[in-house]
Symmetry: C2
Subunit: 139 residues, 2 copies
């Protein structure tokens, strides 16, 4: 199995707070986000916190997708870790941002599991972006 993986880290701002508080909605969209990335869903865990917030994680093949929400400020922290070359993590991020009605996406992509010397592995930033209403902005 190839070790090379892509890890997308995103902060979604200006989201619909009702959605960020809705456990069923979060479960539905994280599963569909994984599918939109061309990934196979193996396990799903969603938890509602008191007084607010939802955490959700989908385990996909050698990979995962996670969300943690702060409805009180319209913010969600997203991680999408995918292995190999057939999955499309950017599609999953785009899908989540659309479904949550985010108006800003602050994102960094990191290459994980890069083979180095002597059987050691490292990671490296691949690219970074910030977009508001779908339009690219300086960071």
């Amino acid at each position: 199995m190839e070790t090379y993986s892509r890890h997308i880290i995103s902060e979604l701002s200006g989201c619909n707070s009702d959605y960020l508080e809705d456990t069923d909605k979060i479960r539905e969209i994280i599963i569909n986000a994984a599918i939109s990335a061309n990934a196979e869903v193996r396990e799903v865990a969603v938890h509602k916190f008191s007084p607010q917030g939802v955490s959700g994680v989908v385990v996909i093949a050698e990979s995962h997708l996670s969300i943690h929400t702060w409805p009180e400020v319209g913010y969600a922290a997203i991680d999408i870790f995918t292995c190999g070359t057939t999955t499309k993590p950017q599609e999953a991020c785009k899908y989540l941002a659309e479904q949550l009605e985010a108006d800003e996406i602050y994102q960094t992509e990191i290459k994980r599991g890069i083979p180095g010397q002597n059987g050691r592995f490292f990671h490296q930033k691949a690219n970074e972006s910030r977009s508001v209403g779908g339009v690219s902005q300086p960071r």
Copy 2:
């Protein structure tokens, strides 16, 4: 609930391959790693892949800890995302590296959920390290 979170990304190399293939071992150590970080475990999902490899995720309060393993090359990709100031994600990483007998840890810490202008959130690299046999090395 405070949005500020710490996210530790680690590549563990030179791990004990038998452990990386052992679903029960992985389940046990990710739960104990979360506890060592002073976090409360809410959900656990572990999945074994064919022909090799295990993925495990622990959902903790507004946070998560994940592992993906490649036993054939002694490699594990670790993510520890913790919210607030009472958890100690570095402890969890250290614990996992010890339990898996990793001889190299390649690590980056990212500050997540940093409040910016106009109610927007961003992230920022906090520090990076590489250690071999517990001794700090240049990256």
